[in-house]
């Protein structure tokens, strides 16, 4: 397993081009390429598989967004970057839970990624707010909004899915939900 995973790791350039071109295949290979490294790191530093998944996905998202924003400079190996980000995130989590973080066992080189992680955390705070606003919205508003804005369903689909007699009714419903959602969202601004 380990070997087969490693053998399919794309080159750093391939990863960057792949992300810019929205290549699902590249994302797949990237994810599988470095997962074992992070899993080992977390497992050996007071974490479990779920922690590893969370931390690793955060790191991949940070990398993904950074590449998408176009300001990712490949100053080090991608592997080192991912490892450093994961390490930073995990250290923060350990400190937050006041778990023992005294001696982190390192498996790779590390370099400073504090800025990237902090930027991501700011963004993440906004997402948390959106999520909580959605959670407070209640059904069927939550699903209608999600279907329209996240899953990109058309009003026609939503109309059929929720059994509205015509799309105008569905639209009215949608805008009512949206109004409440905006209220919830901006309340916590």
């Amino acid at each position: 397993m380990n070997n087969s995973l490693k053998s399919s790791v794309p080159t750093d350039r391939e990863v960057i081009l792949g992300i810019l071109n929205n290549s699902a295949d590249t994302l797949n290979k990237l994810y599988k390429g470095y997962y074992a490294m992070v899993l080992q790191f977390i497992l050996n530093n007071n974490g479990d598989e779920d922690d590893a998944k969370d931390v690793y996905q955060e790191a991949i998202i940070i990398l993904y967004n950074k590449v998408k924003e176009g300001n990712f400079e490949l100053s080090s190996k991608l592997k080192t970057y991912i490892y450093s980000v994961c390490r930073r995130i995990w250290l923060k989590k350990l400190n937050l839970n006041s778990k023992k973080a005294g001696n982190i066992t390192d498996y790779e080189d590390v370099f400073a990624v504090e800025e990237d992680v902090e930027q991501h955390e700011e963004k993440d705070a906004a997402f948390v707010k959106m999520q909580s606003a959605l959670d407070h919205l209640g059904e069927p508003c939550k699903t209608i909004i999600q279907d329209f804005y996240i899953h990109n369903l058309s009003m026609q689909d939503i109309c059929e899915k929720f059994g509205y007699t015509n799309t105008d009714n569905a639209k009215t419903q949608k805008y009512k939900c949206l109004q409440r959602l905006k209220k919830l969202f901006f309340q916590h601004q």
Partner: protein, 381 residues
């Protein structure tokens, strides 16, 4: 929809708008670029004229952007979760988690440190091997020197020729070759002091000075207990020496005192420097000092002097197994040996403990220049 927009914008004032929902719908259509150019222009007109509408547009824009980023993130996460589902986390974790065996765990944690340690180990094995390899020669030497040292148990006597021993055992045998040591003048008329083990059992004895002149000598006094022999130059070409520059030190030397010796471990005179490292010699022998001077076979019988040119002792041997431990007979036994010789025969200008050394205050190089003439190579046949 467009009809409704026109209705709101052109026929109905904002205040009379039927409800906000329709405005919201128009704002969203506007932001998503779903209005036609005409409607867009009309709406922008309204936006410019009505600050409330403008504010709503801005805040809805921000909301839509937040929502889009949120949606994108959710979609990415979904994608990642999908990929994650394809990985056999369970078995991967089993191979990577902290191993119950401490050894494996240590190996994983300290891979690099262990690699360094391993290379050190290899390096040290190589050096140990090479040291052992070098030791082979030394071992042979030690063995030979032990043969010699039957004269004085396991102490090495620093005689050049290892065959001295066989000669000692059977003194009747003609000495096949020359071996030697060092000696130094104790009087101007040709009395020379050296170690007994240097001259013991010799058929004939010669001394050679630093200029290369050889004189025949004969042994006039031996002290087996202190390993001292006194020789007398019995050569008619010998013209005598000028005043002996060094004197005998009466007091005991302190540990750490700088000392040096001159000797003939080879055909030319050689300086050896060091310090007194112990007031007792081989296995606690109180008649000797231990000195940290590198001495070689041939140094035996050489004078040991301090910085002021006082005679501290006579180099007599070194220990087999210990590096840098040489032994020197203490100077007071020189005096004792000299007393055993008829005082008249030593003449007036002899080595004494009462005069001031002529070497005091001189630089080491000047001291040696003066000393050279009084230190002899002993050649034994």
């Amino acid at each position: 929809m467009p009809a409704k927009v026109k209705e709101i914008i052109f026929s109905t004032p904002v205040i009379e708008m039927r409800n906000d929902l329709e405005l919201d719908a128009i704002i969203e259509d506007y932001l998503l670029g779903k209005l036609n150019p005409q409607e867009t222009e009309a709406f922008e007109q309204l936006r410019r004229n009505d600050a409330t509408v403008d504010h709503k547009v801005v805040s809805h824009k921000f909301f839509l952007e937040s929502m889009e980023a949120f949606a994108e993130q959710l979609r990415l996460r979904e994608q990642l979760n999908h990929i994650h589902g394809e990985i056999d986390v369970e078995s991967l974790a089993d191979t990577l988690r902290p191993h119950p065996s401490k050894v494996v765990q240590l190996w994983r944690k300290h891979k690099s440190a262990l690699a360094v340690a391993a290379s050190f180990l290899v390096l040290s094995l190589v050096s140990v091997y090479s040291i052992q390899h070098n030791n082979k020669q030394e071992a042979i030497y030690e063995k030979m020197s032990r043969e010699i040292s039957r004269v004085k148990q396991s102490q090495n006597n620093l005689v050049l020729d290892v065959r001295a021993n066989s000669m000692h055992n059977s003194p009747k045998k003609p000495n096949p070759g020359n071996f030697g040591g060092t000696g130094f003048a104790v009087s101007t008329n040709g009395y020379i002091l050296t170690n007994l083990h240097v001259v013991n059992g010799a058929d004939s004895l010669f001394v050679q000075n630093s200029k290369g002149e050889s004189f025949k000598v004969k042994s006039v006094y031996t002290d087996p207990q202190n390993d001292i022999a006194i020789l007398k130059i019995s050569d008619k070409h010998f013209n005598g020496l000028s005043t002996i520059p060094y004197t005998i030190k009466k007091s005991l030397s302190s540990i750490g005192e700088n000392v040096y010796t001159l000797g003939y471990p080879k055909d030319d005179i050689v300086l050896g420097e060091g310090s007194v490292s112990s007031r007792s010699g081989f296995v606690g022998d109180t008649t000797q000092y231990q000195v940290s001077i590198l001495v070689n076979p041939g140094n035996s019988g050489g004078p040991l002097l301090d910085n002021n040119g006082n005679l501290v002792g006579i180099i007599s041997g070194k220990q087999d197994q210990t590096e840098g431990a040489a032994f020197a007979i203490k100077s007071k036994y020189i005096l004792e040996a000299m007393r055993a010789i008829p005082q008249d025969s030593l003449g007036v200008n002899r080595l004494s403990a009462n005069k001031k050394s002529l070497l005091t205050g001189l630089k080491r190089t000047k001291q040696i220049e003066k000393l050279e003439d009084y230190v002899f190579m002993i050649k034994v046949y």
